[in-house]
Symmetry: none
DNA sequence: CATGAATGAGCGTTCATTCAT
DNA sequence: GATGAATGAACGCTCATTCAT
């Protein structure tokens, strides 16, 4: 008791395990974690309520596992691509694109990320936070490398930039997910990168006219 | 039936009404809406369970009211300041500052905004969404005015910029709220504005070297 | 504590006392005792919730008092009429008429008699029963007198006859109260009395053909 | 949502389903519907509170089901007997007997019929009324057939007669149920039928002396 | 006398979890 | 392994009653 039940692993990746995860993501995305009885998840997955407890420790565990595995895939994808894609600007763009495109792969999962992952301060502190921290760290490293290579300004904090990029993309994703509006993620990423790289100030008044925020 | 109970309003702005709201925000920020029994809110507020229903229609109503009034105050503050602050860049900066500083006024409320307001797709669709939409609209108008005045580039979408600014600030707020790290919000806003205005690309390679995202 | 609060009796029959009783009867008739909050009764009566407890010991006490007083009036009316109306058949008819006409005097009270007075076996045993018993006793006495006078058959139980008459009238009242159908109570009483007096069997086959229920 | 839960029906007529129904009837008969917490019914049935909701949609549903099934059995019994019992007088007698004897089969159910079925005008209008209407209809048809056959007088309303019979029997049942007195239902029915058929007026004064109710 | 804000016990119902089959 | 009937703690909410004003 207390241990994650070792997925029965019926020599084949255990299809039920995955069915339950998928069903949980779908149902929770639709109705919210606390309005999704385990029985509803079981029904969607086509298994008995009790079966879920053969594969997961608790209802909570299902949600955590779903989120964990999504992040794992995300980082694996990034990592692999970075083996051949080394330009910092292109790396940022790649991350942004994967992030923003994610809901086209699995809209339910995207919804879930925008909602249930933020369940409560406690949940975030104990669980979600480290996923986001890792995201930020990855971006920061890219930024820092860009700064070292001289392609990014060195007078801005890599942390602030990382948060800005993540926040911007995540907000656009959120907007896309909760709105009817369909738009082109590729083009959007390009715009975001343009803004991030070049800013929105007109360079007409360049030289002395640069905007300098009030102190 | 179905109406908000007329707060008993014992002449004086009803101290209990506010006590309950504050307690609810605190408790919900700590434990999440669904893990916060009405009894816990009542206890924190120093009233009996039933008393909450003299002032609010339901548990849900308490949360909604808290969020509504926070947004109302936010917009009122912006609106008032805009009467004398008309420069688009300064307006953006002001919004960012108020947004980012909000947790110093009421950290619990900031936590709640980062969590409960995004709880469940349904809740967002029915309730939270219009608050965020209004925020974006306000920012978009500022951007558009800046574009007309020629201080902002006209080849970027005002919507995308608005989402980027909101997302960036909100993410920084989120990070501040869920981290021990204390930092200077003023300085952070200045950095964000700098990035938004000028971008992070080094201008050394200006002329031809501008970053152009892959098509 | 435990004593019926002596109605304040502001030297005038205390209008509020009566207002509360009337309001209670109305509200309870509409929604049922257990679905009628004291607050609803108070509102209808135009008094504060707490005021009810100045005149009555409890919510229950209001209902009991209303029923008690209705029965008291009923018996007083009967008793008075009997001073001059002495023919047993006419006495029965008078009782039936008052009973059946009661809902035209106060429909709410009639509804309440048909519903709340039967609340539960416990309520009936402890409270309602003796009212009904008295009704039956009054009728039985009339029957017995009629038997002594030779106008009623002596080979039928006065108790059974009394219950039959009460039951028949009460059921007709119930039907009248819960149905749209409007009908003439006077004519109905006449029919019931005709049936009770003469039966419904045709006398054609009189002599030997009388219906004799199977043993 | 809103549907009666499919009783788990563990092959065998579902003993728990019946246990719950019986317990509910017992408890509600003793204390009244609104004074019978679901927990009390569950306890009496020997199941957990939640189990009741595996078999019934709500507390209300338990009561309705109990009443419905009692009426269904009643009508089925009548219908079957009428296949071979065709004499109108005997049919009336049969109905009366089944009705009056019902409490010997299940006293609690009889109590419940005398109390809860008449609880609150709203409940009656929406639910109970049609059961009683059907009863009256059945009796009316018998009366009408008797009138056609010439065994019942044709100058009395079949509706009034039906209500009288039902009311009389029901009141006798009520009296039997709420009184210690034990009596012979068979004999009582015979008396009621005698009264209904022949009336209680003495025929001595037949010819001119017939009671004619005042106009 | 009258008020009505406040109380808190008690209710109907849900649902995560267990376990006999 | 898989089932799903059963559990019972926990929750949101109501309302009879009290009492300070």
């Amino acid at each position: 008791m207390g241990e994650r039940p070792e997925p029965p692993a019926t020599g084949g990746g255990s299809e039920k395990y995955q069915k339950i995860l998928d069903a949980a993501v779908e149902v929770i995305a639709e109705r919210g974690y606390f309005n999704s009885p385990v029985s509803a998840i079981a029904k969607r997955a086509g298994v008995a309520d009790g079966t879920i407890y053969l594969y997961f420790k608790s209802k909570d565990d299902v949600l955590r596992t779903a989120i964990d595995s999504t992040f794992a895939k995300f980082y694996a994808q990034i990592e692999q691509r970075f083996e051949t894609l080394t330009d910092p600007r292109e790396q940022l763009e790649y991350i942004a694109e994967v992030h923003l495109t994610s809901h086209q792969v699995n809209r339910s999962m995207a919804v879930l990320m925008q909602t249930e992952m933020r369940q409560s301060a406690k949940f975030i502190a104990e669980f979600s936070h480290h996923h986001l921290v890792k995201y930020i760290q990855v971006v920061r490293e890219v930024i820092r490398r860009g700064q070292q290579q001289g392609v990014f300004r060195q007078d801005v904090s890599d942390g602030v930039v990382a948060h800005c990029l993540f926040g911007a993309i995540d907000e656009l994703l959120s907007s896309a997910v909760f709105t009817e509006r369909v738009y082109d993620p590729r083009a959007t990423v390009r715009q975001v990168m343009d803004i991030l790289m070049n800013g929105i100030a007109t360079s007409d008044d360049a030289g002395d006219g640069e905007y300098i925020p009030a102190s």
